[in-house]
């Protein structure tokens, strides 16, 4: 098994007809992901390299039974597109778009939270990869092979860095989930760790956090009460100065909240081992899984 995306994924891409949308959707298809539809208002009836395009998500779902959406439209259209996908009954929505207004994200989160049948990953994320099964997004799949380590991260390149270190130690991955670097992500560490805990293929969970917000502290509490599988942590931004946004909109230490050391302390207090460098994360994983 794997989580979120896999052999059953039927993907509809909002923004398929754009240059980036076409490029990454076709990459996903070459990997084996079933890309069944594109959604671009006004371009219904056209196709992109054989993938039919629809004017609305509703039409795309009716015609193709799409169950997963990838959002690749510019920031000003992205929230609307996410809400449209939810309204059309799509269960898994993966939003790659970076730069969505914070209040749009607030609206989306508060609309979706009352719908138990939908899960939003992102925005501002690299997507989700279940090696050997499906890739939705922009994660460079060639570094990863199937295996038993689940990875959840707020950062794209740091995920590749950690994933590559694990691969060099001989580990593969059940699923790699980028939850994104924005202040209001659709899914939190807690949401994804819960899915990994329930996934029989996943034997170890790696969570890569960073400064800003309190998602890592909330994860620590959740892990203490609910998670039986070993978790290895990493926190980026320990040396970042307060009050400065470090690249990701959500990566900022504000006053006394969001600092890196507090996150490490919270995780270690509940028995999560935290690597001080990406290399250490791989070393700890190796120790735990006994190789």
């Amino acid at each position: 098994m794997s989580i979120l995306v896999g052999e059953d994924t039927r993907l509809a891409v909002s923004g398929l007809t754009g240059r980036e949308g076409t490029y990454h959707a076709m990459n996903n298809r070459r990997y084996g992901t079933k890309v069944v539809a594109g959604v671009t208002p006004g371009k219904g009836g056209q196709d992109v390299e054989g993938v039919p395009v629809f004017n609305t998500f509703r039409a795309a779902v009716e015609a193709t039974e799409a169950n997963t959406a990838m959002i690749f439209v510019p920031p000003r259209f992205a929230a609307d597109s996410i809400l449209e996908a939810e309204d059309a009954g799509i269960a898994t929505i993966i939003a790659i778009t970076e730069g969505i207004p914070a209040h749009d994200e607030l609206l989306v989160f508060n609309v979706l939270k009352d719908n138990p049948d939908v899960r939003l990953i992102g925005p501002n994320c690299p997507g989700v990869l279940s090696p050997g099964k499906a890739n939705v997004g922009i994660i460079p799949a060639s570094f990863f092979k199937p295996g038993n380590v689940g990875v959840v991260s707020r950062s794209g390149t740091l995920t590749y860095q950690i994933g590559n270190e694990l691969a060099q130690e001989g580990f593969g991955n059940s699923t790699i989930v980028g939850i994104g670097g924005d202040p209001v992500p659709g899914s939190s560490f807690v949401d994804i760790i819960a899915l990994f805990e329930a996934d029989p293929e996943t034997e170890l969970i790696v969570m890569s956090g960073e400064i800003g917000g309190s998602a890592e502290e909330e994860a620590a509490e959740y892990i203490a009460a609910n998670v039986s599988k070993p978790v290895v942590g990493y926190i980026a931004g320990l040396t970042a100065p307060p009050g400065k946004t470090m690249g990701h909109a959500g990566a900022i230490v504000s006053g006394s909240s969001g600092g890196g050391q507090a996150k490490i302390d919270a995780l270690e207090a509940v028995g999560v081992r935290v690597g001080r460098t990406p290399t250490q994360v791989a070393e700890i994983a190796m120790e735990i899984l006994g190789r």
């Binding site: 740091l158 209001v184 100065p241 400065k244 460098t277 990406p278």
Partner: protein, 382 residues
């Protein structure tokens, strides 16, 4: 985007938030003219995006033109914790009966706006929360429902504001929420919100932060940004479309992806070094962006060595190598570069660098090794 006090008040004024009369000035003569027009006594306030202005001597009350001139002369150009005062705000000075605190905050953990009200205004609110939690009323508002009159009643009664101002304080809170949601702010803080002897409730100070990502919907607000106090390297980087944060150290950092760059800063610090900057060239950076990055990094005179730490996903390492070679041709750097390129097309990249045989460029295989090397080189170069 943090706004200067007077610009924040301009935004509040659009929603009829009660404010004192005032005027901005950037020269001593303009300040005196503005003070004369407002009438005395007048408050002369430094306009900088940092707290603690009063303690630093950046806020004075002038009783006449001579005093206004004296204070304006002293405060303009004053350095308040690294922020040089370029503008003043002159505001009518009035007697004050009560100092309250009001704020609307984008609470990312609760995923809802947080509205706060306290009767202990004029103080640091984190201190109030710690020492007098009973004096701080707060509640989350469902953004789908918005701020309702009962929210205002709950806050005013729970905070214990004077009975005769329950209504105007509640009205002001409702207006702050309206500004917060319509202007897409992430923070609106009024500290203090004052009650005058005539029992008027007025926003004496204003701290407004707007969401940069929403500015396409608010062209008026985009024009409120100012670079008067921006760091020269940060300004240069933003003109070139790079994400750059200036830091205190002497090791220039180049990387791709915010998380990896933050991690690079940490690894360099753990190796005993001090990064001079955060620079994220983003995904898919081409040679041009790399030349621009090197230019910005080297324009900081503190930089004694540079670390390139790239894990290629969408970014191709050979593009990074080409960019570095091009930058060397244009900028002829005198400080050493440690280069660690891994991921997409890393073998090609290493070949390119080997062929170019640039002076003072040291390839490293791992992130930890590269960090140790650059720290050593920065020390030797110092």
């Amino acid at each position: 985007m943090d706004l200067l006090e007077y610009k924040g008040k301009r935004v509040l004024a659009r929603y009829d938030v009660p404010l004192f009369r005032g005027k901005e000035a950037s020269t001593v003569d303009d300040a005196v003219a503005a003070a004369d027009e407002i009438g005395y006594p007048v408050v002369v306030k430094a306009q900088v995006k940092i707290g603690g202005r009063g303690k630093a001597g950046g806020i004075k009350i002038a009783d006449n033109s001579d005093e206004a001139r004296e204070y304006a002369t002293n405060i303009l150009g004053m350095d308040i914790r690294g922020h040089v005062v370029g503008e003043l705000w002159l505001q009518e000075a009035t007697d004050i009966d009560n100092e309250y605190y009001a704020a609307v905050v984008f609470d990312r953990s609760a995923k809802a706006p947080l509205v706060m009200l306290s009767t202990q205004g004029g103080m640091d609110i984190e201190q109030v929360a710690a020492e007098h939690p009973e004096a701080l009323a707060m509640l989350h508002v469902d953004p789908l429902v918005g701020f309702q009159p009962y929210h205002a009643r709950r806050l005013t009664f729970e905070a214990g504001v004077d009975a005769d101002v329950v209504r105007p304080v509640g009205d002001l809170l409702a207006k702050l929420y309206e500004v917060f949601s319509k202007e897409e702010a992430t923070l609106i803080e009024i500290n203090p919100m004052v009650v005058t002897p005539e029992r008027r409730v007025v926003a004496l100070d204003a701290k407004v932060t707007l969401d940069n990502n929403s500015l396409f919907r608010h062209p008026d607000n985009a024009a409120l940004d100012d670079n008067s106090n921006a760091d020269p390297q940060e300004l240069m980087a933003s003109e070139r479309g790079l994400t750059y944060v200036k830091l205190d150290g002497d090791i220039g950092i180049f990387g791709n992806g915010a998380g990896l760059v933050m991690s690079t800063l940490d690894v360099v610090a753990a190796a005993g070094g001090a990064p001079a900057n955060f620079l994220d060239a983003g995904g898919g950076a081409k040679a041009e962006a790399i030349v621009a990055s090197v230019e910005v990094i080297l324009s900081n005179p503190n930089v004694k060595a540079v670390l390139f730490n790239v894990f290629g996903g969408i970014t191709r390492c050979d593009e990074v190598a080409k960019g570095l070679i091009e930058a060397y041709g244009i900028l002829a750097p005198t400080v050493p570069f440690v280069v660690r390129l891994d991921g997409t097309n890393d073998v090609e990249a290493r070949e390119l660098l080997a062929q170019a045989d640039l002076p003072n460029v040291f390839p490293e295989k791992t992130m930890d090794g590269a960090a140790a090397r650059v720290v050593e080189l920065a020390r030797d170069h110092a």
